[in-house]
Amino acid sequence: MDSNLFPEGVKRCGLPKFLLWMVFPTIILLWGAYAAAKIFYYGIGVTGLDNYFGFGLWITFDLAVIALGAGAFFTGFLKYILKIDQLKNIINLAVILGFLCYSGAMLILTMDIGQPIRAWFGYWHPNVHSMLTEVIFCITCYCTVLIIEFIPIILEQKQLNKIPFLHHFAHHLHVNMALFAGIGTFLSTFHQGSLGGMYGVMFGRPYAFREGFFIWPWTFFLFVLSAVGSGPVFTVLVCTLIEKMTGKKLVEYKVKALMGKIAGTMLCVYMFFKIIDTWAWAVGYLPTVGMTFDQMFYGNVYGQWLLWTELVLCGIVPAVMLITPSIRNNPSLLYTAAILDCIGVSINRYVFTVQTIAIPVMPFDNWEIYVPNWAEWATSLMICAYGALVLSLCYRYLPVFPQEVKLNKK
């Protein structure tokens, strides 16, 4: 029925089947929209956040998706600046994912700030000392860059591309894409770093505080490295998920393996510095504020298992797996390493957000447990549903995967 809209030469399922699939994310989206409406109407008091946990699931979710969305800027940098041509086969998906992750994070932020209509104050009354100001500027600018990078993919839709003006417009955007990729790389590097810096400068919070270089604490650099060490494999995982769901081959395996190699190399660099950082923090910094390594952990919810899982199982293990050619070239092992890698970076964002503020810094204070409630889950899942809906539409109607026709020839 809608086959005239499909990309050239590809096969898609029938419209009823597609619409049936779209019902599931739509239900979740509506559930999230209900929660969002409640939050906007009654205030953030309807969430599980409290005075102890000003930051919770939303900020963890934001930081995690932004790290995983780093595939966009890093793949763009490698493709357009370093000219690694093979990546042209996955760059469209990386850009769409980056756009979804960043726009999703911004949607969450509109709920997360207590006064959404004052969101523009960040530009009007900026505090140049605040890492969050840097985040606000970079996230907006980079989201704009992602929109600019996304537009030519939309304009290449078969019917739109027949309109001469749109065809030429898309072409010119493509020609200048190296410029946008460069700007995007700069903005996103700073943004990822500033998110780490946000925690690293909190000198009243010994779990997160770090010394550093110039105005940037070490966490600034660690966040950039961990994002580029996980973003590319998240793109690979999403690509594989679409392949499994549609039963088609969309990207050549060697491209995925290359993405794995890139992420693995960056993950190795990250793990090297992360381990040194953790060691220096535990034996160097903590004693200076009278605290011990053991005091940083509590029970199962905030146990040391989180740290070791992040560093070893979801850090060193996938790093080694991804840089070892024989493992990387085995699809199951590559995907396993990719999943571990993405879990590791998510744990890192979780502990920096929640564990940091759960630790009682005053000796007579208590540990508190944070449990997100339905309103936070619903709105976070709403963003996932939004991603699924947009990605489904993109896959069906836009030429996202240049190799699809060739790889699926009978």
């Binding site: 100001t133 400068v201 810094v361």
Partner: protein, 252 residues
């Protein structure tokens, strides 16, 4: 970050040994600052408690157990963690006297300052303030009410400082050199045991100038270097030991 120094430094000194934990300071703070009662007040993690009284104990079992009560307003830190992190300059420390201000109409409610403050002295308005049964008729006229969605905190009853300065001007005195006792926060006024003292620590004519030199005076979390303007006094070792974190080999 460079630390700003002022000629006047408003300082609170709390004698922990005199505090009975009655909570009068908390109640007077709520009334003075127009803090609305919460529908579900039993959830202490969502209430607005600018002044909070902590219960400390010596860790021993009855009959050797001892308790102490430690009122905790905003520490008005000399080197505040909350100020540099605020993305919109809604909180600053730039007025003579060194009180950390909070500009409610500027705050976007990002709660970064709350995450940065280890004293939990900052509070967020989670829900719309509601004053039941005509309580809104009894609001303090000198203090603004806040909408939901902004961070608020103790400001040493700043409006009282404004009133004291106005009185000084009308009596021909220097408003920046107020006599001792002219400016008193509500918690001090309500304290039945006289545990709270307040004044300019740099003015030798003010009682707190001497009090902070007491060998039993301490501040909370000195090692982190936030330089609070709230001091505590206790003659009991176990109370002072709970003022900061100390690794095993570095006990008092």
């Amino acid at each position: 970050m460079q630390q700003m120094e002022f000629d006047t430094k408003w300082t609170m000194v709390v004698d922990v040994d005199k505090c009975t934990g009655c909570g009068a300071c908390m109640v007077s703070c709520q009334a003075e600052n127009n803090i609305a009662p919460m529908e579900e007040g039993s959830n202490k993690l969502k209430t607005l408690t600018w002044m909070l009284v902590y219960e400390l104990n010596n860790g021993k079992e009855f009959p050797n157990r001892e308790v102490a009560y430690l009122p905790r307003p905003c520490m008005q830190c000399g080197h505040p963690a909350c100020v540099p992190v605020c993305p919109v300059v809604a909180t600053t420390k730039d007025e003579e006297g060194g009180i950390v201000s909070q500009i409610y109409p500027r705050c976007i409610g990002c709660r970064y300052c709350m995450a940065a403050c280890p004293y939990h002295a900052r509070y967020f308005g989670w829900l719309d303030p509601v004053w039941p049964g005509g309580m809104d008729k009894a609001l303090s006229p000198s203090t603004s009410t806040r909408p939901r969605g902004v961070v608020e905190k103790c400001n040493f009853c700043h409006t009282r400082l404004m009133d004291a300065r106005a009185r000084a001007r009308s009596e021909g005195l220097d408003p920046n050199k107020l006599p001792d006792g002219w400016y008193q926060p509500a918690c001090l006024e309500a304290c039945p045991t006289g545990a709270i003292s307040f004044g300019d620590v740099k003015n030798p004519e003010h009682k707190v100038h001497e009090l902070v030199k007491n060998p039993n005076a301490f501040r909370i979390l000195e090692s982190i270097g936030m330089d609070p303007q709230v001091y505590y006094i206790s003659r009991r070792d176990w109370v002072r030991e709970q003022s900061d974190n100390h690794v095993a080999e570095d006990k008092h």
